[in-house]
Homo-oligomer: 187 residues x 2
DNA sequence: CAACGGTTATCTATCAGTTGGTAGGTGGGT
DNA sequence: ACCCACCTACCAACTGATAGATAACCGTTG
């Protein structure tokens, strides 16, 4: 009942990469297995169904993101600097094979997502908004409807990534983020 | 060689609705045919392949959007009011069955899109950015890198729609857009 | 020490359902 | 008689999923 964590982790990592490129719908067991270097049926030893794999990938995704966000807060005492570093997380996906945020891709697919997967995707958005809410409240002091502002920042940065990816041009991302900053959205 | 425009238009309309809900990947001939009230094979009478159908849908989509944008400019002389009305277009998709902008969905799927479809998706983004560029230049006078600002607005509004759709809550869209306005992104 | 038995991790083989796509027929309007 | 619009019937490829074999490992036992 221990399970080889090496294989399990390798499957999770490859599935994440694939889902960030092709979505949940485009994720398939044969290509995934080939990528990992095993056979398709072996995946079922670790994940009883595609829905379970998808949910595990999405859960791990927001857990990793949450850790990255905490790391920013730890490394960067100034909350304004934290906020300005927020787009880094989305930029990294573009750097790493022009990939989309898993949360964005699965949000688009939400109508065809198993309930368990949808729930993890929701949580991804929630932890982003909560972090942003905390940070902008630290910058400006607690103010009315800071959550609305946090959602606006999250939506805007997600959109920037989507546009930059469609152009396969990371400078578009930087340019859009810079415009957000100039306009005062990131403060 | 005339072709029944009724059927062709019905296929295009149903395919658009399906693609805005399930994406290009989730679009399939059998469900599409059922929706239209014909048989799957009949679609091939109008569109020789899925790629051709997808390209036709995407093309029609940006043509329709372009017409809507022109209508705003015609109905609304004040360019600032035009800009404030821009989100209406994205809001409409949410009102209409919580659907996503076809450009956004296909942008996400871009890695699995036939070249012809990708090209039309690109054009959709281009006409949006061009319209926004014209409008904000009319508001503020021609200014440096207005295209960058136009891209920022397009990205932000797209992101707002994606987030609101994932929540199935149109008030999230309105709230985010209002934040963009307050912050001065929509000016 | 060597043989044994069970657990772990993986495989081969196969299935049923779905998909895009094709061949060729049919019926109604002109 | 023709041809437009649509049909039935089918195929090959791909999908998620299952059943059952197998090989490596590992502590226990004769």
């Amino acid at each position: 009942m221990t399970m080889n964590t090496g294989s399990r982790e390798a499957i999770l990592a490859a599935a994440r990469r694939s889902a960030q490129t092709h979505g949940y719908n485009g994720l398939n067991f044969r290509d995934l297995a080939t990528e990992v270097g095993i056979k398709a049926a072996s995946i079922y030893y670790y994940f009883p169904s595609k829905a379970d794999l998808g949910a595990a990938v999405a859960r791990r995704y927001w857990e990793d993101t949450s850790a990255e966000l905490e790391a920013i807060r730890t490394d960067t005492p100034d909350p304004l600097m934290c906020l300005l570093r927020y787009p880094e997380i989305f930029r990294r996906s573009l750097e790493n094979g022009n990939r989309l945020c898993l949360g964005s891709f699965m949000s688009a697919e939400q109508h065809d997502l198993p309930e368990t997967v949808k729930h993890e995707v929701q949580t991804f958005a929630d932890i982003n908004v909560a972090w942003l809410d905390t940070v902008i409240s630290a910058i400006n002091g607690v103010f009315p409807n800071s959550t609305g502002r946090a959602r606006a920042i999250f939506a805007a940065v997600s959109g920037a990534q989507l546009l930059a990816r469609s152009r396969s041009d990371i400078t578009v991302f930087d340019e859009v983020i810079e415009n957000y900053r100039e306009v005062g959205l990131l403060k």
